[in-house]
């Protein structure tokens, strides 16, 4: 499983299981000179735990109180290296998040059962062994480590005048014993033109891997995306114009990426999330011994992960952009000469 590192220049390696002692991340390639402390990272971590909101009816009357979060995960991070006197030093940044409030007993019943929509079966097929507690390595909890790395990437982007934001453009709804999915749109502003490589490491291709690597994502698109396949060239092409003396486009079906490189416009990507596979509704499945069984899943899980996952999309986008920005720095000899003058 040598696939726990993302990025070439800004390298993010996550580790840890849902119910082990801790999870964490090592960021290798963070430049020296970035002011950084735990407080810079924590707010983005907290966004993985959106405040529960009450349900209102169409007349604005609260018909259901805000639910109490099922699992309290403070996601309290600790920086173990790479920062000295409040400043990054260029050495690897190790961040650890201890697992608290772990109730592994909850999962004993599911030890030998292959939960539909989960990685239980494939883990067994690949490794012949697995940590069955709460999804183990495949748990959504792993994304906390991504967000910690993402928070640092966001800080770097911020220094370069690049901003990331996102919206839930569709949020599914499901009865109390079922689950639903949704869609997150992520927008990047301030991206300089010409970042991204032109063949296999196209900026949209790398963003594709980054976003598709988030557990529940089943589709990814850039710009007009799926819709672009149904337009004609004259409708889909964005015309170049000159605005305030600068070259730009009058539309943005490209989503800010042309030929794999940023075009200076807003980068717009979308991630489609499947409904969480953990539902309390009874489901038919099979266990390790090949016997057909019926299960209902309790334990800590959410009806809809989209609100929680929104910040993970931003994190992965941020990490990808920083990586591409760094790689781009040695594209032109004149710039290299200027750097080493």
């Amino acid at each position: 499983m040598a696939g726990n590192t993302f990025g070439k220049n800004f390298k993010v390696t996550t580790w840890g299981e849902s119910h082990g002692p801790a999870i964490g991340v090592v960021i290798d390639g963070c430049p020296a000179g970035l002011p950084l402390c735990e407080e810079d990272i924590q707010p983005m971590m907290d966004r993985r735990h959106p405040q529960p909101t009450p349900v209102f009816n169409p007349y604005g009357v609260e018909i259901e109180a805000a639910p109490v979060n099922k699992r309290k995960e403070p996601d309290k991070i600790r920086i173990l290296s790479g920062v000295f006197e409040g400043m990054t030093t260029g050495t690897p940044i190790s961040i650890m998040i201890e697992n608290t409030d772990v109730k592994s007993k909850d999962y004993d019943d599911l030890k030998d059962v292959y939960r539909p929509g989960h990685a239980d079966y494939t883990f067994d097929m690949k490794y012949g062994i697995r940590d069955h507690r709460g999804g183990g390595r495949s748990s959504g909890r792993e994304t906390a480590a991504r967000v910690a790395a993402g928070a640092i990437a966001v800080k770097i982007l911020d220094e370069l005048g690049i901003k990331i934001s996102s919206d839930i453009t569709y949020l599914g709804f499901a009865d109390e014993d079922d689950s639903a999915g949704g869609t997150v749109e992520c927008v990047v502003t301030g991206m300089p033109a010409g970042v991204g490589e032109t063949v296999f490491d196209k900026l949209d291709a790398r963003l594709g891997q980054a976003v598709m690597s988030i557990g529940a994502v089943k589709a990814f698109e850039v710009g007009a995306g799926v819709m672009a396949s149904q337009l004609t060239g004259s409708m889909n092409n964005d015309e170049f114009i000159v605005l305030d003396g600068k070259i730009t486009k009058n539309t943005n079906n490209a989503g800010g990426i042309l030929g794999g490189m940023s075009d200076g416009d807003e980068i717009v990507i979308k991630a489609y999330f499947k409904p969480t596979p953990s539902i309390s509704k009874p489901q038919n499945t099979v266990n390790k011994n090949g016997e057909e069984v019926t299960i209902t899943i309790s334990g800590r899980h959410d009806d809809n992960v989209v609100e929680k996952a929104q910040v993970v999309v931003e994190a992965m986008v941020a990490v990808t952009l920083v990586d591409a920005l760094f790689e781009n720095m040695h594209s032109r000899l004149d710039k290299i000469k200027e750097f080493y003058r």
Copy 2:
């Protein structure tokens, strides 16, 4: 632009511009002992040039003759290394395809113009210089090199009982001076379970990068894809069942991948292609000097690249699968011990 290599174990590096002397690919990591000659590769190359078909009216009457292909590219490949007496030796396989029928003059008018939907502008932003002839490195012609590598990957998969096929599930239509897009669905059968890594290198994430790296692709999905975001968990989850004594699923919304690993079912992915940006209809744009101009694009280009690109999707899927299959070989100690016994 150190992004011209795809894969870690089965590494594919393409090179070459549309109007240079040749294009090509180096495949590093092809195992020894695969029977291979030019004739094994050529048929897949030829599929990049689908036979033109006449247009029929709803009554089956031919209303338009089959058009003559605009550019004859025989894509005649030559193997320069890595094969000895009809067998791969484990050393890098270098394949070259000479560019013939090159009419660079056609592009002189477009030298300083940023064609809408093309990489002209971003290339200039990144490199400050570019080969403007026929798209240069960003030309669809680069995909010929991918297909050559894909053909070898397909041969390896074949030896392992794994088959790839694809369909155009939507093909747009456009008037003579415009262009259209479409959708390609690609299906893999015979894939063993447990292949793919579980975090950043999930099989669907890698397929995402692979497919999104094809020029005109704007969206990628696996299994139920976009649709999955609108289902409930109980609808989307595939129940495990036992069939003929083997564990399988009764539906395949997962598209054959769970937790980033193949589940033994058919792998199903979809690529959405935008319409070709090269259209003869007049378009407003801007040139290098920041002057607004109107252009009409002639030269060798297609109304719809989807038929041509279908085989490229298969090629990229094949390359990704071979790479993942190799990486998977050191996942379990018992298998490693068996290998080295």
Copy 3:
């Protein structure tokens, strides 16, 4: 500084500074099914702290008592992930070693001084900032993390019947206020033939990088090494012979590696260590402001690091071999087919 990871398949990423809260390592690519607990790793960690021995005169009379270790570093490791119920699961193994007994005050005087033979000056040149306490990231302490990873690699090799041992073949001697270097020879037995790649990733080239990356190593050789350059071909060539029905060589000037691949013989490499640059003798140097100053270095350091570094050489060799053994698994189609049958 994206250079904190070693290996492609068995990937070792170290992090941490000498005087930060902790140091550690993430091992990505350890196969599932290896029995592993802290006790398996600790003994190799302890070898980084060789027992001090008394000095005897040529007549066997003790003339100097065993010195007391200058710094007590228990190097107590803790496994945070990747192991479940005493068995590796194939997910990344995170190991942390807390820094105890840290006396950062000792280094305040050296904050702005460039110690001769140390990385102080180059760190400042590269990053413009550095953690000056005890060498920071360049401290020998970083090698503790390597040894932890090496211990796991050694366990894997052990399962495959491959053994690593080493000897100090030369140990320099220096007066009490000076330091000395030495030579470590490392021998591998039981290595199967054909492991290692044939061009840039030759087994000896990778071992070269691995060993040269240990702080104080200034030269590396394989087999007859330096001496080979002074022999004739007929003296240096190892003749192949048949012994007990098996092909072997009658000498081993090659050091067990031919054309970058193991030849089934003992692998023999040698590392040459410079004397520790930290000496208490007064030295002339320069400080950050470009002023010439004289310094004497106190603090925790050793007269000779070779005894301590011996196990680091073994660790790096072990990690390199495991990586190469994994990569070798997809060299032949027949073996791949057998694997996936």
Copy 4:
């Protein structure tokens, strides 16, 4: 054998066998804007074929005429991509060198014999198959492709004011039917301080891999190298001084690298070459069937490869430095901000 690529940012991939139709190299990551044509590369290629010189006696009398080169290899290169109108474009540069004057017949007798000191046996052990003609992929001929890449690296270094030179500091001598080795020292001037990474990718560690990956190299050292292991700290440490207002060192035992990073001083490394294993003297060995045989090797080979290999050392050093220079560009946030301002 996915080990035919060297470098992360300036990636060099070689391909080709000694007796196939051609050999070549793809350079991915060469920045745009470097003036480049075949004539820039050819002179360095030609240095792989040093002019034969006569042998003089101690009194200056020619006692032996200059021998005629055994094999004429013009090593005529052809650039197939990545250059447009005499300037690199940032896209991959593909270079091909056709194999001419190939007399494969010469090798038929050796088809099943394991030549001592060669990779024949290990190739068979690894791949079960091999191109036996003239060393195949393990032939010294592969280094021609390295030199072509090295010539481009040298050009880049030149633009940055960095120069590489080398000397044969020891050249062995052998009778007509035997062979000898030697030593090459390579010196780099003008290298800025702070280049190289601090842990596994130390500049000397990477140079170690680069140089050890040249076929006949059996030992590598930096600075005082082997000798450093026998000095005391006070002898080996280079004192920092101020000269002409700049910080420098009064000696250079470090060889221009401290803590894995360049210190601004001359970089000095040494490569020790074993004698060519191909000798005409009769040798005992074993064939594929395990039978003991005696062989004498004819065919195209040299008494001493050191003169030919000298330029290969320079090429590998150049490639390594360019790679490190590029990687270093994203070490500091202030420099990154300046770049993207």
